[in-house]
């Protein structure tokens, strides 16, 4: 079973602040980390390989420094890595990103399962995973919390919903996005870290993956960001002191005023 894990390097959200004038992220001095949801994807990708054999390839689309995220993934047990990086990718929205990654996966060719984190902690869209599956025209299961079994080329998984969970059977190849309930990511191994240090990670550009320019980067991105703003802080709540009857009638008065 060959597995591809898609990851994204994001700013460490525990350290991020917003510039109140420009409403943009202050990225200076903020460390880059692997998107936390993708850590579960890496772990599951490695566990799948350990359970069913095969190999796990990790890919990311991003600037050259995103290679560090791939090396970390190798230290956590992934076998190979590919960085997809090209100036032409700049400004990609989720549609263009999904396209670019799907073309990368087409070039890798040999895969059975694609694992993605549920969403990225910076954009929070949860669209890229499903986008890749759509571009590749393969089955997709989002929010997977458990992989039950793999039998007769069918994978049985549990998918989290707001009310509980669904059990889904899917044929391979398929794409799944995973939630944090699925596993507990391991700590890297020393051998993994050494392998990560010396691993040769190829960088593929747009032409390497035979991508069509009109689907890449800003040109290929229909999303328009009109305005980014920090929501105003919530006003302080009011507390009525005194006995319940008085407080209740005060509250009713205020509510009537609003209506």
């Amino acid at each position: 079973m060959n597995i591809i894990v898609c990851i994204k390097q994001v700013p460490d959200t525990t350290q991020v602040r917003i510039n109140p004038e420009t409403n943009t992220l202050i990225r200076e001095g903020v460390q880059s980390i692997i998107n936390p949801f993708d850590m579960y994807a890496i772990e599951e990708g490695v566990r799948l390989k350990e359970r069913f054999g095969g190999k796990t390839t990790v890919i990311t689309m991003g600037p050259p420094q995103a290679e560090a995220a791939l090396r970390e993934a190798i230290s956590l047990g992934c076998d190979d890595a590919v960085l997809v990086s090209d100036r032409a990718f700049a400004g990609s929205d989720t549609l263009a990103t999904g396209y670019t990654l799907s073309m990368t996966i087409k070039k890798i060719k040999d895969f059975d399962i694609i694992v993605c984190g549920k969403q990225a902690s910076d954009g929070d869209t949860a669209q890229v995973g499903p986008g890749i599956a759509a571009h590749l025209d393969i089955a997709q299961v989002t929010c997977v919390r458990k992989i039950d079994e793999f039998k007769d080329n069918q994978l049985t998984v549990e998918r989290m919903t707001e009310e509980g969970f669904e059990i889904i059977k899917t044929r391979l190849p398929c794409l799944m996005t995973v939630v944090k309930e699925i596993n507990s990511p391991r700590i890297p191994s020393l051998k993994g870290k050494m392998r990560a240090k010396s691993a040769v990670i190829p960088t593929w550009k747009g032409k390497d993956i035979e991508a069509q320019e009109e689907h890449l980067g800003l040109i290929g991105s229909p999303t328009q960001v009109v305005k980014i703003f920090t929501p105003p802080p919530r006003p302080k709540g009011q507390i009525f002191e005194g006995d319940a009857e008085d407080s209740a009638s005060k509250l009713v008065g205020i509510l009537k005023g609003i209506l």
Partner: protein
């Protein structure tokens, strides 16, 4: 911290151990201290991270490092919990006799599962009547055909009961005194090998300390390490190698206590100011930090000396163990003092550092025995001149 010019690999080991300590040891240290249970879950993480093999040769599944790598790992784990760190380093103590005196077959058989962390090891020398006087060993190993029959009791054995592989000192010829002692490998599960009382300790409570009982325990003669009669010398040479590890454990405990004290001094307010602004506290912290650094320098220097294959490392490794363990006791006691009343309470982590520190002055040769080793070496060296 002084730059000890660690190799890239050593930095990798340190960082990985630091991550394990922060994420997996610190959150559970207080709980294991309370329950005294064996920290299998943490040791499994250490095993999965390939760290049990840092000091074992690559051909036996290790990473090919030495005592220095073992010290780096032990120090980092000890910053979080001296007890959990012992589960790790006591395995090294049990393994060193195999590394030093094992035949190719013995190494091939026992080292790979230890390097992978699948099996823990333990070293069995101490007996109820044989502590500092290791020559008073009562356990016997009688040769009968292709076997040895072991009888006797070892006590205070770290990793006792939880380890799979035990290196045991027993008398093959009592009439010869210390020259009649031999070293054996005994595997858990061997008929006649059972475990006695589990000790309820003051500190390092996450480690297991237990009695080993041998009752007509029959082991194949291939389990003899080295030659008959060299058990006592083998034990001493093992300690020469392992003492820097105890020093590293002590340095880790001391550093953990110091870090906690510095942080607390910055937070704790008295007389309207953080107590870290008082010179009295600053001077205490300065002395503590200086002592920890001096101890670390001595431990690393002696570890590197052992790895470089220097002969007669006994005195230097005794100095490292002696100095570092005394520093751990002093620094952890001062850390409790800086915490004041809170420091005496179980709710805060420093009293545990103080309890854990105490054993480093006692085991693998009391600090009085270390002074004997150093003193005798000085006199011997002087007589040679």
């Amino acid at each position: 911290m002084i730059d000890y010019l660690l190799t890239e690999e050593q930095v990798m080991i340190r960082d990985l151990c630091r991550q394990i300590t922060e994420e997996k040891i610190k959150p559970v240290a207080a709980e294991y201290d309370k329950t005294g249970e064996f920290p299998w879950d943490v040791l499994k993480v250490i095993a999965q991270s390939d760290l049990f093999g840092v000091y074992i040769e690559e051909q036996y599944g290790g990473m090919g490092g030495g005592v220095m790598e073992l010290c780096i790992a032990t120090e980092e784990f000890s910053k979080g919990c001296g007890g959990i760190a012992l589960g790790y380093s006591a395995t090294a103590l049990g393994t060193y006799p195999i590394i030093l005196f094992g035949t190719e077959e013995q190494k091939k058989k026992y080292l790979p599962p230890i390097a992978k962390g699948e099996k823990l090891a333990a070293f069995g020398l101490t007996e109820p009547a044989a502590g500092s006087d290791a020559s008073a060993i009562q356990t016997t190993a009688k040769k009968e055909g292709d076997h040895y029959i072991l009888n006797g009791t070892k006590h205070f054995i770290s990793n006792g009961g939880d380890a799979e592989i035990y290196t045991i000192i027993a008398m093959t010829d009592k009439s010869k005194g210390p020259r009649g002692a031999s070293l054996f490998v005994v595997e858990k599960g061997t008929p006649g090998f059972t475990f006695g009382k589990k000790e309820d300790k003051m500190g390092i409570r996450a480690s297991s300390t237990r009695e080993l009982v041998f009752t007509d325990c029959k082991i194949p003669k291939e389990n003899l390490l080295g030659k008959e009669g060299m058990g006592f010398i083998a034990a001493m040479r093992t300690f020469d190698q392992s003492r820097p590890g105890i020093g590293a454990q002590a340095v880790g405990i001391a550093q953990g206590a110091l870090d906690a004290a510095v942080q607390y001094a910055r937070e704790r307010k008295q007389f309207g100011k953080a107590i870290s602004t008082f010179q009295g506290i600053q001077w205490m912290l300065a002395d503590m930090a200086t002592q920890v650094e001096a101890a670390r320098a001595l431990v690393y220097a002696s570890a590197r000396e052992v790895d470089a294959g220097k002969k007669d490392v006994g005195k230097d490794s005794a100095m490292a163990k002696l100095f570092a363990s005394d520093v751990a006791m002093k620094v952890s006691t001062d850390a409790v003092q800086i915490f004041g009343g809170y420091g005496y309470m179980r709710e805060y982590p420093v009293e545990k550092f103080m309890r854990d520190a105490k054993i480093t002055q006692i085991y693998e040769g009391t600090n009085q025995i270390q002074r004997n080793i150093i003193g005798l070496a000085l006199i011997k060296d002087s007589a040679k001149k």
